[in-house]
Symmetry: C2
């Protein structure tokens, strides 16, 4: 264990160079996504039912992509290790002060992903450190429930996923498989449907739509033919998902094609949550038990007349009246730190 | 003109090194796709209503991808120039013997694409050579009509496009915009829908389907969770499209989900053709005029009980009884050469 200390010496050099507040114990929470990775170092506060507000944070560090599917295993690990070292260094701490780490990272889709990352983490930290590896959606859930793994989170940004936990530790997810595998309710999905509608109208395969004007103007193109070159030029999902506000504007202006795309997205997003709630029985036998429903991501936060998030909530509450919608006030990395803290203090009170 | 002769000297060196049958005039036909590029060198035969069978071919050369959207402008040009030089060299000919070139290449979606390639071609060939640049779908049409630009071609392989011409030279297309822009009837589209159905069944968002077993077995995976890693590992469209036979098998075995995916694909493919036929008025005022309907590509050629091509034809003939289905007996590059020959001999009889 701690082999990495010698292999990647420079990352952890600060541990020899600084006076460390050795008595103060800390937990680390990481939120690793495709765009960026955030690490929070939090002091280990005693277990209590009422958390301090605001949550105490010793340090926050930030780095790039840590999804192993996007950048490969080696680069992902380097990023994760660096961002943890930065957070510890900034907080005047070191690895011996760490009591628990919760690493919530996108691309954890299978128990083998979890095992691989756990055994690598084990090489970095001393053996007494508790280690938890989760999908990044779990940190988003915890950011709404203040560290408690109970309820369902729906994320809809560039991508989308629904992830839920029962109080006795069972878990389930829906969607989150990427655009090829049918995440139609995501920002990418909505925008791709809108682009498709423009091409169809141009071909004579579909109705005319205000999306044509709206999207061409927003991309500074003069004809739908040019969309082909535009999509080929850079296939990044976030670039396509950035068109969602155009779709919302067209729907608000009364365009039926845009309106249908948003209604379909609402159905898709709600159905992901419903599948998770049903599989876990979160709403109890009579379907009326209450459970947290954490809502995260740009697609759900559009505070417009056509409010996708509100419509999704309406659809879910219609089937499960006990769903308690929550918009988190802290970032997912703090959710991950609270998870680490919660695991630790509950298991060793 | 012919600046390229000096810039890319090595490509055309053979012209100085060989005895050339200078009196024999030739035409070149190129079919440039995302997978490969084929060039045919054909002797210039006198104009006749009855073409020789088989079509005389002096040489055939083959190279890699020449879609500028995929490999960039420079690499695409290098490939096209090399494959033309190879065909001329193999046929014991040179650029002065060329009377016409028809370059039919994927990625020609806009008049500016055409102009760019034309002015580059103009640098390679002497000024008397007639040059034609088309989308590769046009070569496929000509391979069914023996060089005549009339009717509609439907291509459905990894991608899909419908392309049509009237006898007086008007043209129209539908689809062919890539998977992001909604080519749902393509091999990629069919397979992506099937993968989505597997994930939905696994999530509890959709009905159980035989596609789960069929696709996991075919990819040697043990759980639908692993599909996420599989799609990320290599996003090539052809790799996904290769799953079409699994979808056909499941539909033949009675799976309703697979059956619906194929029925939807049939609708999509037929609607592309119908949009083109309607915009061009190919079926005349009473809707009964006859026109060639050229059918090309792996998705349409599956000679199974569930025959996608046959169903597409049925749907089209239902609306346009004058559609005359043709399965080409020669490859698209020969279609391109016949086009060059046809343009030339008709315009200067």
């Amino acid at each position: 264990m701690m082999k990495k200390r010698y292999r990647n010496g420079d990352i952890w050099d600060f541990e020899h160079e600084m006076a460390v507040a050795a008595s103060r114990q800390v937990v680390l929470g990481l939120d690793g996504g495709t765009t960026s990775t955030v690490c929070i170092c939090m002091p280990l506060i005693p277990y209590t039912d009422l958390l301090p507000d605001p949550i105490p944070v010793l340090a926050r560090s930030i780095a790039g992509c840590s999804n192993h599917n996007s950048v490969g295993e080696t680069a992902a690990r380097e990023t994760l290790e660096q961002v943890m070292a930065d957070a510890l260094s900034k907080s005047g701490s070191n690895r011996f002060a760490v009591r628990a780490v919760c690493l919530a990272v996108s691309g954890v889709n299978h128990p083998t992903d979890q095992q691989r990352i756990l055994s690598w983490l084990r090489e970095i930290f001393p053996s007494h450190v508790r280690l938890y590896v989760q999908n990044d959606a779990v940190a988003a859930l915890a950011s709404g429930t203040m560290g408690k793994l109970h309820g369902c989170v729906l994320i809809a940004g560039t991508g989308t996923i629904a992830y839920g936990f029962t109080e006795d530790g069972r878990e389930a997810r829906a969607a989150g498989a990427g655009p090829i595998l049918g995440d139609w309710g995501s920002g990418y999905g909505v925008a791709a449907q809108a682009l498709t509608a423009v091409v169809r109208a141009h071909d004579g395969r579909g109705p005319l739509t205000m999306l044509t004007c709206g999207i061409l103007r927003s991309l500074e193109l003069s004809s739908p033919d040019e969309l082909i070159g535009w999509t080929y030029a850079d296939p990044s999902w976030a670039r396509i998902a950035a068109l969602v506000p155009v779709v919302v504007s067209c729907a608000e202006a009364g365009d039926q094609v845009a309106n249908k795309i948003l209604l379909d997205a609402v159905q898709e997003l709600a159905s992901s949550v419903k599948a998770v709630v049903q599989r876990l029985g979160l709403s109890g036998e009579d379907g009326k038990n209450s459970f947290p429903l954490v809502m995260v991501g740009g697609v759900l936060e559009a505070n417009k007349r056509w409010d996708i998030g509100k419509e999704v909530i309406n659809s879910i509450v219609n089937d499960f009246p006990g769903a308690l919608p929550i918009r988190p006030r802290v970032e997912p990395a703090i959710g991950a730190a609270l998870l680490a803290w919660n695991f630790l203090t509950r298991k060793s009170p």
